[in-house]
Symmetry: C2
Subunit: 413 residues, 2 copies
């Protein structure tokens, strides 16, 4: 693959940011990324804008990307609004790499945003489900049965509060993994405790409270075996990444020293029925392509950010990325292998569970963390010697319906 570089990253605080608008957050993230890249708005040759809920929540269905860019003075270039559910941000990133590889411009911008915390809660949950309705516990049970999972949650273990059907899907994936590989609820809790611990040192994280495995297990149940602290919150935030090709890098002398190489960028759709065939899982198939494109193997990876919309996501995705053998994600987490300082640190940022999950921004937030790690600028959460990093960002309904996965691999120059 032609050389593509990340030369600037920027993100807002993720969190419950009731007083911040979409434009305000986008402005901050883009301004920080441009400053980091040592370039001006006029240097941007094309822009890719990721959001899921802008039409539904902001009442602006048409050209949110071009309008947000115009407010920043980024105009007269190709701008696209891109949607791939929770993988929208990384999809925007991938499109930027294509434009650069095609030589249609030399410097490109990927930016993602979501404002999820709005007063009308029902509307909020509806949209978090990507247009499906608010789920009741009864509906969610029906969904589980439709998955062929066949395990009805024990009485009293499902929350009666309205919450995303995704949590029930993840819960079913948990139970399947527990039954098949012997994964324990404690191991899943170990992932969550580790991620909450990581984000203590991430000033941009939504939560920064350390918690123990016991505290995770004692948190309010959402859908067995998931508790509240194992699930990603509803978040607001924006993140932006400035990329360039070799020509762009020549132009931006100041940024060249801190540039991070993009070794691979793979987007892949697929249905993920057939949980008993891990090799068919979309994330695994995308990872195989990405390692091939990058010319590296799983053992070369120093640090990973994976899509832990629940703690179970981290177990499944580290397995799909071949960072641990299939079925070994739970024990590895419990042994501390995914902790900063461990064998293969995962989600040093705190992950979606603790850093937050503002959908359109999520994938670009992961890239922000990995670039920070590769540059050695992650402070107390720094993975020592981080040289090669892998990112996995997924969207859609894993396990029961269509999904999209983006896997990117980055390296120190």
């Amino acid at each position: 693959m032609e050389d593509i570089y990340i030369i600037g990253v920027g993100m807002t605080q993720f969190g419950r940011l009731l007083d911040r608008s979409v434009y305000d957050m986008v402005g901050e993230a883009v301004t920080l990324a441009l400053k980091d890249a040592n370039c001006e708005t006029g240097d941007i040759g094309s822009a890719y804008y990721a959001t899921l809920t802008n039409g539904l929540f902001q009442g602006q269905t048409a050209i949110p990307g071009p309008i947000a860019m115009r407010r920043l003075g980024i105009e007269g270039i190709p701008v696209f609004t891109v949607e791939n559910a929770c993988a929208s941000g990384s999809s925007a990133f991938n499109l930027a790499t294509l434009a650069l590889r095609a030589g249609s411009c030399h410097i490109a911008l990927a930016v993602g945003v979501e404002k999820m915390n709005i007063p009308d809660k029902a509307k909020m949950f509806s949209a978090f489900d990507g247009g499906w309705d608010v789920s009741t516990a009864e509906q969610n049970k029906a969904t589980l049965m439709a998955m062929g999972d066949g395990v009805v949650p024990p009485p009293g273990t499902m929350s009666e509060r309205p919450y995303s059907v995704f949590m029930d899907v993840y819960a079913a994936l948990c139970r399947h993994h527990m039954k098949t590989y012997g994964t324990t609820q404690r191991q899943i809790a170990a992932v969550a405790a580790k991620n909450h611990q990581h984000s203590v040192h991430n000033p941009l994280s939504q939560y920064r409270e350390p918690c123990t495995i016991e505290q995770v297990l004692a948190a309010p149940p959402i859908s067995y075996p998931l508790t509240l602290l194992m699930c990603s919150p509803i978040s607001d935030g924006a993140a932006a990444v400035v990329l360039c090709n070799a020509n762009g890098l020549k132009r931006l002398q100041g940024a060249a020293g801190r540039a991070v190489r993009v070794l691979a960028s793979v987007v892949q759709t697929g249905s993920t029925r057939g949980l008993d065939e891990p090799s068919k899982i979309v994330a695994h198939r995308a990872a195989v392509k990405a390692y091939e494109q990058a010319g590296v193997s799983p053992s070369d990876v120093d640090v990973a950010e994976v899509h832990d919309a629940t703690a179970m996501g981290e177990i499944l995705n580290t397995e799909s990325l071949m960072l641990v053998p299939i079925g070994e994600g739970g024990p590895a987490a419990e042994r501390g292998e995914f902790t900063v300082g461990g064998r293969i640190p995962v989600n040093p940022s705190g992950g979606l569970e603790s850093k937050g999950h503002p959908i359109g921004a999520t994938g670009l937030g992961q890239i922000h963390e990995l670039v920070t790690q590769i540059r050695g600028e992650a402070g107390k959460r720094q993975v020592e010697g981080a040289r090669i990093a892998i990112q996995e960002n997924g969207g859609g309904l894993f396990g029961i319906e269509e999904a999209v996965v983006v896997v990117n691999i980055f390296a120190r120059q």
Copy 2:
């Protein structure tokens, strides 16, 4: 620019298709395009899916593209949902050309769809405005004043029915052009009459009734000087285009003979305040880039499809594309220069006004027409000797706010 080819086009009937679903229409358009390209679903290396209203009307905000593709068996590849208002279809096309130029795949699919005719009319109009509210005549007058146009429509000339604010914006653009260049209402009507006449011979057109200039002038007033027959209708429909690079063309021997070359594909954002400086109009700036990329000049163009959301759009856009001098669009239309058989035939398909305007499909429908023309397969609406074709597809709020324009240039091999 590296050689990119269109090897297959397909579209549904455009119209008021109450009994057709989004998936049904997409399926037909894609199947026709694949058949035309003589390839299989498994040949598609990436897909770009254009829609504006899917979240608002279909209640499906997340991954409509991947889900629609999966239903057709197109999976395991990168799929993106793309939005650029009325220019969404052409934006999807442009992204497909980038993927091919980057060499990330050899055969790509661009598909667009919209289902606008739904029982809940208020909702419909709201979305047609891209998330703005239904406009009342009073609100629209306020919009006009905010434009600095300063011309209040004569009493009784504004419709009291709810209709898109776009029609008032176009009406203000008409009046500005009339005042500045002496364009007449009759000239605008001549465009509409010509387009309705063209689509008599287009079996996929929403309307196929011929009409005279007098009939256009006598139609119900929408917003002075626009009448109903000068405005594009609310439409349902889908269109698809299969593209490839040189490697893809080698693989598809059967299709090579009918392939059409993409000489240029330009996407450009911009605000279009400052109507008195035609050189600053986004469509003009995009056209300048496209001619340069293609290495052809306006006098080389044999046929054009331009964004005539109202008849005025055709006058403005033929001027911006330099097919006629600034201010000469109206007289040229009245002299029959834009008619099939005339000097430079424009919108032989019938244009948005008569063929229809299903937003996400519109740009790809224009490409469908130009490919058909270049292949010499347009029957009674064939432009003799059509060899070089230009397409202009715009989205957003021209004249008062941000807009996106796509200009593509195609040629016979």
